[in-house]
């Protein structure tokens, strides 16, 4: 259940992040308003950007770990796949 939630959350973050950073939402913030001396659009773009990073950081800890895989020549390939459920 928790896996599923984290995976859904990462879809939502990616999709909403994309929408927020594209027209028609983006030009909405392109107006002559300043926030602490910085134009609104600059604050908006960098703010969304930072929010995405924080969200990705938070979610990266919740997503299930893959079994550590070392791409070594002498690794029997069978060891590389076990323990992975249906995607």
């Amino acid at each position: 259940m928790r896996r599923q939630k984290a995976r859904d959350a990462i879809v939502a973050v990616t999709v909403f992040g994309t929408l927020l950073l594209l027209p028609p939402i983006l030009p909405f913030f392109d107006r002559s308003v300043t926030v602490g001396g910085v134009p609104l659009i600059v604050v908006y773009v960098f703010g969304v950007w930072l929010a995405l990073i924080v969200a990705a950081w938070a979610l990266s800890r919740r997503l299930p770990m893959d079994a550590p895989r070392r791409a070594r020549l002498d690794d029997p390939p069978t060891d590389q796949i076990r323990g992975e459920g249906a995607d």
Partner: protein, 914 residues
């Protein structure tokens, strides 16, 4: 001002440092100390090879010209990395399982290990990358000349003399040496270059540090704070570019997102050099953070540069010229080293990636097609590969240098970054389709790629030569004067941004052909197998391959082959390890299909999937691809998906069932308790009359002196008590039948009022005995309900007799009112007695609920009357309730639905009753 020698010396010292880092890392990794080299942070830093000198210098230039647009180049990759779980994770997994050595290898492997596809991808990569390398050479040369120029006019950021070709040449040579030294040391089965990655990571730190340093300096020393920067008049000019957030913004974001996946150097670092899939977890947020920090000061530097540097200054050099203007030589030198870092890291990784592709996909296939030489010598293929890679690196850098020389005097390079992005974006349909679409076929991928890249070359690459080799009229009027074929206005699409125009047509043609041809052409078995192994990579182990392809070969032939490609030592280790895995003590494994598949994958890591397949095919004696097994695999995959879906719904069903069972169990427990209670009540009710009967019988039996009256009286009591017992048992049975729904009587139309009158008559005697009066009011006419006359009478009699019995008032009176409303008959039985005590209201309808009145007559029932009455009425779809206490005695209400009839049907039925 810095002297050229000082700059040169610093740069050389820095290069020496990089050599040292690479050397030490290589040495450590050879000894197995991989902790540092294989850390997720180093991995993330090496991905920042995305930020070339185009970013380092050019982002500020872009911001100065187009405002925020520069950010799109970093937002696209940010989104791809934030969503790493979907695309990148799958890409890395596939890359690692199938030992992909390059993006060309991965695409060719997916489409049935096709050599032709690999060649096409390689050519596109070379065409797209060469000008990009030239761009880096130009950036290093320009920055060197700007920083080392003592004339003072260099603040314009434009070299006073022509570009120094010699500088560019030596830079190219230096990079070639470095790359050959650390990039082609070995033919590793997994193409890991620890030394290179370590050096790239160091360079990533240096360029970020340099950008942050110059950014902080510009904002806080030169401008005096963040608000001050945006208060400069140039701020408005920079930010209020017309239509920044239009279709070009979308196209650039898409393009950069595509580039971070498709650029050969990014694929090399992200997929091929990946040491642990979990590193993506860190890179998913750390790489976007790196991009964020890189871009943080771009706007301020552009604004301040435009405001304070002389008019006509080159915005692409603001990062360097701003510190120079304020005589900050050390900072300027740091910036130069940062720019140098970003250029060299790109060139090194790109040339490694390209050399692997060229040697694996072009040189190897040619060598394999040459007439076979005599018996292969151990390591000969490996040697050939190493040599071809070294030569490739040299040739690629030479090509880049040649391009740099040829375009040194034009501005064509400035837009080269985006042109290259659009070129490699042609990989996207084949790549994504290959990862998610089973039907995607080699023919489709080939057709899409070829058509896409030709369209790209015609609409974007060709116009970049305008004015040079190609006359301007070609672009204005189209080839042979055909306007519809004008490169920047295909089919009349005029007035569109050239990049958007080219992207639309090239990717459009690419996707359409890819899909259409894939749908038309049947896949070959190997394609179908690879498609399944790639798309369901998280479900199917790669060694599944052994299930479908049955091959046999002499182990000696395989050993010779492995030695030729991997070298004696590695081949020996590979064979020995597999033999151990097979459980053999011997150093040579059984050459079964599984081993051959394993060997082929290991070889593919060195020479590419297509070449590995060709080489292995040369020594195997028989090969069959089992179509049946293949179909089974597809079926199995489907089954697994369906099965997991079924499981999910099953588990939900189970949860529901468990909940229902729990509820049922609780109901059962409650019923069980009720049953116990009932039995105990029954026992009590039976024992009481039995006690009288036994006691009096014993008196009669034991006492001979009883008078005749006494005997008669005792026998009468015994008789009454037996009647009471019988009645009780009858009632219990009756109630039990009613509750179980076993009707011993059928529902028929009855006149409820006639029944009521009969009941009143029956009770009249009892009422007279108690000196009670009964008044009946309300409806007079026949009111027909579906019921049973006698049973309904029983209910009325029960209510009336209860009212008489429990009415202890001085002048007992009963009011019976009937009315019809809402197609229902309502009968209220009201007495003027003490009413029902509040505590008893809830339980008078329960079984054995008689209240323990001291004056209870002997004939009183066992307290089942109301329960039975209610059960009877329920059978007739009616109800029996005690109305709320009004302080005027108890009032019971019977409600019965009228018989559902058509209007005329009431007449005859009513007539019968009369």
């Amino acid at each position: 001002m810095l002297s050229a020698n000082a700059v040169l010396f610093t740069a050389l010292a820095y290069v020496a440092l990089l050599f040292l880092v690479a050397f030490v890392s290589d040495l450590r990794s050879r000894k197995g100390w991989l902790a540092l080299v294989r850390s997720p942070v180093v991995y993330t830093l090496s991905i920042s090879v995305y930020c070339t000198s185009w970013t380092f210098y050019g982002a500020v230039g872009s911001a100065a010209r187009n405002g925020l647009e520069f950010a799109t180049i970093y937002l696209g990759p940010t989104l791809v990395f934030v969503g790493w779980w979907f695309l990148l994770r799958k890409l890395v997994r596939i890359g690692r399982i199938h030992r992909s050595s390059s993006i060309g290898d991965l695409i060719s492997s997916r489409y049935g290990k096709s050599t032709s596809l690999a060649v096409l991808v390689t050519l596109i990569a070379v065409i797209g990358t060469t000008p990009y390398i030239a761009l880096q050479l130009k950036a290093v040369t320009t920055s060197f000349q700007v920083i080392a120029d003592a004339t003072g006019t260099s603040l314009l950021g434009i070299p006073t003399r022509d570009l120094d070709i010699r500088t560019g040449f030596w830079v190219a040579v230096g990079m070639a040496v470095f790359t050959i030294l650390f990039g082609t040391r070995n033919i590793d089965a997994n193409e890991h270059h620890h030394g290179v990655v370590a050096a790239i990571a160091v360079e990533a730190l240096v360029k970020l540090f340099a950008l942050l340093a110059v950014g902080l300096y510009v904002v806080f020393w030169i401008a005096g704070g963040v608000p001050e920067v945006f208060a400069l008049p140039t701020s408005a000019a920079v930010l209020q570019g017309s239509d920044t957030f239009g279709i070009r913004w979308v196209a650039l974001t898409f393009l950069s997102a595509t580039a971070i996946v498709c650029l050969p150097r990014q694929f090399q670092i992200t997929v091929v050099e990946n040491a642990d899939e979990n590193h993506l977890r860190t890179a998913g947020w750390l790489f976007p953070l790196y991009l964020f920090l890189t871009s943080l000061f771009t706007l301020p530097i552009a604004i301040v540069g435009l405001a304070t540097l002389p008019a006509g200054s080159n915005p692409d050099m603001f990062v360097l010229t701003l510190p120079m203007q304020h005589d900050q030589s050390a900072l300027a030198l740091l910036v130069f080293i940062g720019g140098f870092s970003s250029a060299t890291s790109m060139v090194i990784v790109a040339s490694i990636a390209l050399s692997i592709m060229v040697s694996n996909h072009i040189v190897m296939p040619i060598a394999l097609r040459l007439p076979r030489r005599s018996a292969g010598v151990s390591g000969d293929v490996k040697a050939l590969l190493l040599v071809s890679r070294r030569i490739s690196i040299g040739v690629i850098l030479l090509l880049g240098f040649a391009y740099f020389v040829a375009s040194a005097k034009s501005d064509a390079l400035a837009s080269m970054g985006l042109i290259a992005f659009a070129g490699v974006a042609q990989f996207l349909p084949s790549l994504i389709g290959g990862l998610y679409w089973h039907q995607a076929s080699k023919s489709g991928a080939f057709a899409g790629l070829l058509a896409g890249v030709l369209t790209w070359a015609y609409t974007l690459l060709l116009p970049s030569f305008e004015g040079g080799a190609i006359p301007a009229t070609f672009f204005e009027r189209g080839p042979w004067g055909i306007a519809a074929l004008r490169p920047q206005a295909l089919f009349g699409a005029e007035g569109v941004d050239p990049l958007v125009h080219s992207l639309f047509w090239s990717l459009g043609v690419n996707v359409v052909l890819f899909v259409a041809v894939s749908l038309c052409r049947e896949q070959k078995p190997l394609e179908r197998l690879q498609a399944t192994l790639f798309i369901d990579v998280f479900r199917n182990p790669a060694d599944n391959e052994a299930r479908f392809i049955r091959r046999s070969a002499a182990i000696d032939d395989l050993y010779v082959l492995a030695q030729r490609i991997l070298g004696a030592e590695q081949a020996h280790r590979l064979f020995r390890d597999f033999a151990r895995k097979q459980g053999s003590r011997d150093d040579l494994p059984q050459p079964d299909t599984e081993f051959i598949a394993h060997l082929e994958r290991q070889l593919a890591g060195g020479i590419g999937a297509a070449s590995a397949r060709v080489m292995v095919s040369q020594v195997i004696t028989g090969e069959t691809i089992s179509l049946e097994e293949l179909m089974k695999l597809v079926d199995e995959t489907q089954q697994v998906i369906e099965y997991s879906q079924q499981l999910e719904s099953k588990s939900q069903q189970l949860q529901t069932t468990a909940r229902q069972l729990r509820e049922a169990n609780q109901r059962l427990k409650a019923l069980d308790a009720q049953k116990d209670d009932f039995l105990s009540q029954v026992s009590h009710e039976v024992r009481t009359p039995m006690a009288s009967i036994r006691s009096f019988s014993e008196i009669l039996l034991s006492d001979a002196d009883l008078s005749h009256e006494q005997s008669t009286r005792f026998i009468e009591i015994i008789h009454n008590e037996t009647l009471r017992l019988t009645r009780l048992l009858d009632e219990i049975l009756d109630l039990s039948h009613l509750e179980r729904g076993e009707l011993t009587w059928t529902l028929e139309p009855v006149d409820a009022l006639a029944v009521l009158r009969r009941a009143v008559e029956t009770c009249q005697g009892m009422a007279d005995g108690a000196a009670a009066t009964i008044a009946v009011n309300g409806e007079t006419g026949p009111v027909e309900v579906l019921g049973h006359g006698d049973r309904l009478a029983q209910v009325f009699i029960n209510l009336i007799s209860n009212a008489i019995k429990h009415n202890t008032g001085p002048s007992p009176r009963l009011d019976i009112r009937s009315s019809v409303a809402d197609r229902r008959l309502i009968v209220d039985v009201q007495d003027n007695g003490p009413g029902v005590a509040a505590a008893d209201r809830d339980r008078i309808f329960a079984k054995f609920s008689r209240t323990w009145a001291s004056d209870r007559p002997v004939t009183a029932g066992a307290g089942l009357g109301l329960a039975i009455s209610r059960a009877i009425l329920r059978r007739m779809n009616g109800t029996l309730d005690l109305l709320p206490d009004t302080g005027q005695g108890a009032c019971f209400r019977v409600v019965l639905p009228l018989r559902q009839t058509t209007g005329t049907a009431v007449g005859p039925a009513a007539g019968e009753q009369l």
